[in-house]
Subunit: 388 residues, 2 copies
């Protein structure tokens, strides 16, 4: 059996970012930049003050002058075109553009103001308390690298440098096929389908849900139909080696190239990955916890890669585990866990193994193949699933 | 000046969860449960097998029997109503319901099967490899506590226990008012408005954006209008004490109760909080980094609380800082930071202070008021902003 890393490599090697398209700024939310974004403007636009204080020419400070006549008041956001003349200063607010001729700001706390005369208690230096134009983003420089997923703060940066259209990757169309007679007949709710479709959308994809019974021909027909209308197919259940596990046989009948079938991990062992008609097919196990672990380990990175995200992984940190975990080495183990206010992770117990664990988890803890028992307080690898 | 904690307490004390409403399962995505959700069904529905193996009556194992005739094959998802008779076993797959009479599963690896006779190599115990019905969620027990924000995995749990309608909190309607003549005139892009509106939506609110110039009467009119149509008002800019800072005067004219004005933090010091007409008004500073820090510290928790989320905070962990940070004690400092693959946080430098830092950050580092210089490798508090 191949390792988890080899399996993930096989998945990621088979998926390429989708085509790019040009969209308006606000339509780019949640999508990945298809190329590095070059800044049409600089930020800050003008050199501006880092403090509330008095703007003067640095050369006069060098020459030892400590008294200036205050001739103008510059609030934030107002540009004053009149240069500061020798011997004069502009009162200036934090963030306000420096007037021509000024290249230092003396902060108000060290200034005595009598009438319109400002006396500086300490010597000041040219450049002091000034944020140069273009310090944050240079004109023609890189605003954002390619492959960044564009959240609200990234869009704000692009708005600030006056980017109006952005080349982003197309959203992946993903068909999610839940298998099982009990689901088609409505005897068992398709809870995995609910979770996986929602997680596809969170990863930037457009999900469509289907259900199919336990007959090889039906599974084959549904996968073929899905391949014709999507960028990726996720099946749920039927991926193992039992008599009702029709996904492998259906893929074989479709001439698919099965590249992964079975991974040394717990839960999630029956995971299957194939390429059919040039498109990825990810076979998730039907057991709820295994389904969602396999989604996190393989499907989410694959979908984010299709969507053009350069680093398609959850944030990973090492955190102390709040209680001992017993187990045997051999397979990587994944545990749904709660992040405690003190920064430790607490595995959600066996009594929450199937559906409560995934529902309540803030993190997915990965114990490597060679880990046996883990003592309370030991640091473990935690994948952070995003909070409230 | 009050402390950050006092300021946040003042904000949270003034906001209560909005009214609740009953919605269909899939419409509850991203919203908070208004009450604890009791499970109409148990999970697992039936006692089921934790292993591929052979299901038998535990009493027979206790009596020492080691050979059984295999009379039926039970795949996952199929319920067999016929009890296992004495001396017989059912071949069973992981997750399949146990037939009546069976209460132990002997895993296939320790069984020799010859024809239809299964011989167990080791003694086995009653209850072995069985997941009892209701182990994960009891019927009538708590599926999820009140105040949980419902993501895809939580919805899957509710689908599994056959919850069809859920009582959730209403989405907060939030008016975001950007102030400044330069924004109204289109000379400066309203990048803060782009970021804040997107972050309001991420926090489960419905944002509406407005812009208003630097006249007190205009600011007053726009805030009054916003209060009439929303659950919360966020203003951007104009909250400090300069001549163009009309938000405090407008709030005074409206008879608002200003409870916070100025907080010992950097950036974000001019933050303002008031209650007007029973509704919260949060005044964010206009400098981009300060605006977004104040949003994280005060506005996001307030909006999540309105939306009914019990723990309205980002996941917080302690992580080593990748490089030294110099600074003076006195005010809490917030630094936009990247989460490195090795689990350290690297502050995004002064050259990214205003718009690139927030855009590229994975985390917001909080250094407490008494922190001075921080050495590389020291652990710092990191608020995780959510990854790709």
């Amino acid at each position: 059996m191949i390792s988890i890393h080899e399996a993930l490599d096989a998945v990621l090697a088979a998926v390429r970012p989708l085509q790019s398209e040009e969209v308006l700024l606000l339509q780019a939310l949640g999508r990945a930049a298809a190329e590095r974004i070059v800044s049409p403007e600089q930020v800050p636009t003008f050199a501006n003050s880092a403090m509330d204080g008095f703007a003067v020419a640095g050369a006069e400070l060098d020459a030892g002058r400590r008294e200036f006549r205050v001739v103008v008041d510059i609030p934030a956001g107002r540009y004053v075109a009149e240069p500061v003349a020798p011997g004069t200063a502009a009162r200036i607010m934090t963030g306000a553009p420096l007037p021509p001729g000024a290249d230092a700001v003396v902060r108000e706390e060290v200034v005595d103001l009598r009438g319109d005369v400002a006396s500086f208690r300490h010597p000041a230096r040219p450049g002091e308390n000034v944020r140069p134009a273009g310090e944050d983003v240079e004109q023609g420089g890189e605003a954002l690298p390619a492959g960044v997923r564009l959240g609200p703060r990234a869009l704000a940066l692009l708005a600030a440098v006056e980017v109006e259209e952005i080349r982003v990757r197309r959203r992946p169309r993903v068909v999610v096929i839940s298998t099982g007679d009990e689901i088609v007949r409505g005897r068992t709710p398709d809870s995995n389908g609910v979770a996986v479709a929602g997680l596809v959308a969170e990863a930037g994809g457009d999900p469509v849900r289907r259900a199919v019974g336990d007959r090889r021909e039906e599974v084959e027909r549904e996968i073929a139909r899905a391949l014709a209308s999507s960028d990726a197919v996720l099946t749920i259940g039927g991926a193992s080696v039992g008599e009702r596990d029709h996904v492998p046989a259906a893929l074989a009948a479709l001439g698919a190239d099965v590249r992964v079938h079975g991974v040394p991990m717990k839960p999630g062992k029956p995971f299957l990955f194939a390429v059919a008609g040039g498109k990825p097919v990810l076979g998730l196990p039907g057991s709820p916890s295994a389904c969602l672990v396999a989604f996190e380990v393989f499907a989410r990175p694959a979908l984010l890669r299709l969507a053009g995200v350069a680093r398609p992984y959850r944030p990973v940190v090492r955190l102390p585990v709040a209680e001992a975990v017993s187990g045997k080495p051999g397979r990587a183990r994944f545990l749904w866990a709660a992040l405690e206010p003190d920064g430790r992770v607490r595995p959600l117990g066996r009594d929450a193994a199937q559906v409560r664990g995934p529902a309540l988890a803030d993190a997915l803890v990965r114990l490597p193949e060679d880990a046996g028992d883990v003592a309370a307080g030991e640091e473990v690898e935690a994948w952070l699933l995003g909070g409230a």
